[in-house]
């Protein structure tokens, strides 16, 4: 049975004679070059291409284009190259294509999940809400333990591969004068006009070939030529324009602000071999003018059994016949509300297909149509409705009945192997709507059409409601001229065009007591009954009906279903269609791969990585690293056999016993310079700066205007007009932005310049009793003695002959220095310091030991001890607030009633009763050991470590009225029981602070 539905003579079609082999669901077939997967399967008599989402009903292909709701397939091109949810109508055939259907188990023909179809009453409107969300309904164990997992497993679209995607995806930005979206007759006419103007034009179409409906137009002539010849000539002319970029296989999927249009281009999916270059390209186009020429989509009719395989859109059958040389059946019945299906009947009859009847829902089809049908010997049944269809995996018959008034007569059953339906045409206003234009309901034409333009765009052709080919061409040409600023209208002579009258929405008249399922949304399995039930259960707006029934919410976004759903809801509500409203069209028009959006931003390129100048040394010396923002920081330096715990303990002990050397280069650094630098610092930090002498440092605290701590760091005064400001790691951009904000907008009169110097300085911290001895041999031009250079001072000189700023500061509580050298010298100076340090048994330590040692001293980390609601007083840092200062950012807020109220959370230390217990950071703190539920916590643990200096665990915490609770026992409730803790001061080591002054 090879290609038994392919017509003998395919010379007028777009498929070549070249055979291609392909596999669908494990069965080998033959197709032709130029086929889609859908047309190739139909050529082999295969309509059944999938199972439906909810009921697992057998489904055949409905359409021939991007709107396809049923024939969703997965295409596999090797490991990691599996793409699910592709529309078979868009998948181009290549030799060796391997595809499979979805939503079926164990096989497409026998689907165990079809039990859902029998349990259909469970799946009515609001099913998701009633079953998944409502505990009263879903409460019984049988449902939650048995049915729901089965339903969840069964109801789903496709499956994804878990292997990494080996393909590459490219992203481009581009600009043009005119972007034309849609390559049908209107788009081609527009491109001809715009091309002639010489403007820079991008012309894109989702399909492999430009031409749209002209690709399957076998009857009409344009300018005296058969439409297909005219198309070939027009495309040849377009290719002579160097200013026109033709982009086939390119879907304009999103229209955004200011004529920003996103295109996705399939570069390689039609090729048998995996590409060397990108598989897809994402184009972000900024167009001066846009022409929307996106055509129209045929509407299905809503009647019982309208989803049987073999029931499809009428024009699709004509596309398969004329474009692909494929007959969709041997004996078809046409059911239509629109003239266009008569042309389908005539073409099929001419190709030798038996057209058993044309059932026209209209009482009086146009006479011209009746004459055409009669001339071809075709039977027309007017005033017709469909009572039901039959057949299991393929339609085998259809019940057609006459409607007189509201009475539906007994049906006549007509045998057939395909039913071709047409409810008329829905203009594709998606891109127009995405451009924020408001669609307008035209009652006379029963259509939503584009209203006024909000952006520089215009619609042309069927998407604007023009269906006569001559109108489409004229309108397209005019749109192209308007968009390119040209003038000089062109005439088109068209003959042999099809009729354009008719159309219906909503469901066809039913036999009384009809039980058949009439589907509206094929992809989400929403029936006409579901929409009526939703209205009955109180939904009034289409937005509510949509969410309650999920109609229009599948991956096809209701391209074939939205208007039928709307008409049914409006009918049930007794309201007009615009009163019920149209749902919003959202990007993307058709699904776009994650790969296209990710582009090169994956793996190592996913996020930038910042490394310090000393990073390579840490790597060579076995450091484990941690991510701090996008910095990579040395976390600890394990020796052979050491775990993190052992390494950190050793690093802390050795640092306090001798010295530790630490890479502090990630500290944010900002140089504040200018005659008003001190005045500016007075405003931005809580501390007083005016009287700080050059050469001295001070711990600075930064608040936001609401009075909460947002940053801190040691700040050195380099001169009258210069400060060396340090910020938290990763905090520098935020601090600089904050400073610039005030400097530019609140204090613009201050003469100050701010420069980020984070990356300019490498910072080597040497902390411990031997710190001075270690650095002394390397330092020139600075008197390091205790009296000449006290704690919290800075000196400029040289280290290893390199210009340096040496600060005497401590974040460990020990004697300490931080050596700032130009970043390029960072590693060599580090190595020199390290060589000296080894003479004293110094240790290189990482961020974990740094954290432990600072916590032992009760030094806060902004972002750990603070959470954006913490004041200086809460932290016990009132000493850092300049009381005499008239103003600084945040000062006024510190006396707001809530900021001085009793019961604020204050920083304290916690010691567990069991010294071996290390609390969880973030754990809540209560007054009672078994606090009843709904008790508010007194606070939470902010930092918790095992302290090598104390030989026991320590913690910092924010606790309500903490400073009044010294000595109290509180509790940290944990799953294993409450942990008793004693409230103590936050400084655990050297509370008097003598050591820093050694």
């Amino acid at each position: 049975m090879s290609e038994s539905f392919r017509i003998a003579d395919t010379k007028d079609s777009r498929v070549s004679g070249r055979p291609l082999r392909f596999v669908f669901d494990g069965i080998a077939y033959q197709g032709r070059e130029g086929d889609t997967l859908a047309s190739a399967l139909l050529a082999n008599g295969v309509h059944l291409m999938g199972r439906s989402y909810k009921y697992h009903r057998p489904r055949g292909v409905l359409s021939a284009g991007a709107e396809e709701p049923n024939a969703l397939v997965a295409v596999t091109r090797g490991p990691g190259r599996m793409t699910p949810n592709l529309r078979a109508t868009q998948v181009e055939l290549f030799d060796g294509l391997t595809a499979s259907s979805q939503n079926n188990w164990p096989s497409l023909a026998f689907d165990a999940g079809a039990i859902n179809d029998l349990a259909g009453k469970f799946f009515s409107a609001g099913f998701y809400y009633k079953t998944f969300m409502g505990p009263k309904v879903a409460g019984n164990w049988l449902w939650t333990k048995v049915f729901e997992p089965i339903v969840r497993q069964a109801a789903g679209l496709g499956a994804r591969t878990t292997e990494p995607d080996p393909d590459r995806y490219a992203q481009f930005y581009t600009h043009c004068d005119v972007l034309i979206c849609g390559g049908g007759a209107a788009g081609i006419a527009a491109a001809l006009a715009a091309g002639k103007s010489g403007k820079d034009v991008i012309f894109c179409d989702e399909q492999a070939e430009f031409g749209g409906s002209l690709l399957h137009e076998g009857t009409a002539s344009i300018d005296g030529k058969p439409a297909r010849d005219w198309l070939a000539d027009a495309l040849a002319e377009l290719r002579t324009f160097s200013n026109v970029r033709l982009m086939p296989r390119t879907q304009a999927f999103g229209y955004y602000a200011q004529n920003f249009v996103a295109l996705s281009e399939r570069v390689a999916d039609h090729l048998a071999e995996a590409p060397n270059g990108a598989r897809e390209r994402l184009w972000q186009v900024r167009a001066k003018e846009v022409v929307i020429a996106t055509g129209a989509i045929e509407r299905p009719l809503v009647f019982p059994g309208n989803d049987r395989p073999g029931v499809m859109l009428a024009e699709a059958a004509r596309i398969y016949l004329n474009r692909y040389g494929v007959k969709v059946g041997s004996r078809v019945v046409i059911v239509t509300a629109h003239d266009s299906a008569y042309r389908v009947a005539l073409d099929l009859a001419a190709a030798g297909v038996v057209v058993a009847a044309i059932a026209d829902t209209r009482a009086n089809p146009p006479v011209a149509r009746l004459i055409e049908a009669k001339a071809a010997g075709l039977r027309v049944i007017p005033s017709a409705t469909v009572t039901d269809t039959k057949g299991r995996l393929r339609v085998s018959g259809i019940g057609i009945a006459a409607v007189s008034g509201v009475v539906v007569d007994a049906p006549e059953w007509v045998a057939c192997d395909a039913v071709l339906m047409s409810g008329g045409w829905t203009p594709s206003v998606h891109l127009y709507s995405q451009s924020r234009g408001k669609v307008v309901w035209h009652e006379d034409r029963q259509m939503f059409l584009p209203g006024a333009s909000v952006q520089a765009e215009r619609s042309a052709g069927a998407c604007k409601g023009s269906f006569a080919l001559v109108d489409i061409l004229i309108e397209g040409y005019r749109a192209g001229e308007e968009a390119s600023g040209a003038s000089g209208l062109r005439a088109f002579a068209v003959s042999g065009d099809a009729g354009i009258e008719g159309g219906t929405m909503g469901r066809l008249p039913l036999l009384p007591g009809s039980k058949g399922k009439a589907f509206v949304d094929f992809q989400n399995d929403v029936k006409a009954d579901d929409i009526e039930l939703a209205v009955q259960e109180g939904m009034r707006s289409i937005e509510h009906v949509k969410r309650y029934t999920t109609t229009g919410m599948a991956t096809d976004q209701g391209k074939t279903s939205n208007l039928n759903a709307l008409a049914i809801a409006a009918g049930k509500l007794g309201k007009s269609i615009p009163q019920v409203g149209l749902t919003t069209f959202r990007q993307p028009y058709t699904p776009v791969t994650f790969g296209a959006f990710a582009g090169a931003n994956r793996g190592d390129l996913f996020d930038p990585v910042r490394q310090t100048p000393i990073h390579s040394w840490a790597e060579e010396n076995g450091a484990a690293f941690e991510d701090v923002g996008i910095w990579k920081r040395a976390w600890y330096f394990p020796r052979q056999g050491e775990d993190m715990h052992a390494a950190v303990k050793r690093e802390c002990q050795q640092a306090r016993a001798s010295a530790g050397i630490f890479d502090a280069s990630t500290l944010g650094k900002i140089e504040v310079v200018g005659p008003d630098a001190a005045a500016f610092m007075e405003k931005l930090y809580t501390n007083p700066w005016a009287k700080l002498e050059p050469g001295r440092c001070r711990y600075g605290l930064m608040l936001n205007e609401a009075g909460f701590v947002i940053d801190d760091g040691v700040i050195a005064r380099m001169g009258d007009d210069r400060f060396h400001v340090t910020t938290t790691t990763g905090g520098a951009p935020r601090v600089l932005h904050h400073m610039e904000d005030y400097l530019q907008t609140e204090f613009p009169d201050l003469k100050v310049w701010l420069t980020s110097t984070t990356e300019q300085w490498a910072v080597i911290a040497v902390q411990g009793p031997k710190a001075r001895d270690i650095i002394a041999p390397l330092v020139t031009g600075i008197d390091l003695s205790k009296d000449a250079m006290p704690h919290m001072s800075i000196r400029e000189g040289k280290v290893c002959g390199v210009p340096a700023r040496v600060m005497r500061v401590s974040f460990t509580g020990e004697l300490g220095y931080e050596i700032n050298v130009p970043a390029d010298y960072g590693r060599s100076v580090w190595e020199a310091v390290w060589a000296e340090g080894r003479k004293y048994n110094a240790v290189a330590y990482g961020t974990e030991a740094m954290h432990v040692m600072r916590a032992e001293k009760g030094y806060i980390i902004v972002g750990q001890e603070t959470d954006g609601t913490v004041t200086p007083d809460d932290l016990g840092l009132n000493w850092a607030v300049g009381k005499a200062k008239k103003d600084f950012v945040g000062k006024r807020s510190l006396i707001r009633p809530d900021m001085v109220v009793e019961g604020r959370k204050q920083l304290v230390g916690l010691l567990t009763d069991n010294p071996a217990t290390v609390l969880e950071e973030g754990a809540q703190i209560t007054a009672a050991s078994a606090a009843p539920t709904r008790t508010s916590a007194l606070g939470h643990v902010t930092s918790s470590y095992e302290s090598p200096a104390l030989g026991r665990s320590i913690a910092l915490a924010l606790v309500a009225d903490g400073r009044k609770r010294m000595g109290e026992t509180l509790y940290v409730p944990m799953p294993g029981g409450a942990i008793a803790v004693k409230v103590v001061g936050p400084v655990f080591v050297d509370p008097k602070g003598d050591r820093v002054n050694e």
Binding site: Q258, V454, H737, E740, D741, Q744, R896
Partner: protein, 97 residues
């Protein structure tokens, strides 16, 4: 992605170069300590949040670094005009799209 005209660079640049900065023309009191609790709370926390034209601060953070103001229609997301910090809010005929 919006195109925003930086009044300092005198160029339309993509939104990615900019950072939003909240409502404009909310001046910090010259003497905060002289304000009442209510006045200060009003300055800190209360914003006009209009439906329609909204004067707001933007910073060309990945460009010239300057703060400036824009009038944006909060319904259509269209920026009607941008102007330098310190300049008065320009007269705009406020049509809600």
């Amino acid at each position: 992605m919006l195109l925003i005209r930086c009044p300092y660079c005198e160029m339309e640049r993509p939104e990615l170069e900019f950072r939003y900065g909240g409502e404009a023309h909310v001046a910090r009191p010259l003497d905060p300590m002289a304000t009442s609790d209510d006045e200060w709370a009003d300055y800190l926390y209360f914003r006009s949040n209009p439906r329609g034209l909204h004067a707001e601060r933007w910073r060309h953070i990945n460009g010239c670094g300057r703060f400036f103001n824009a009038i944006r229609d909060t319904v259509s997301d269209k920026i009607v005009v941008t102007y330098k910090a310190g300049e008065a809010r320009p007269a705009t005929t406020g049509e809600i799209a």
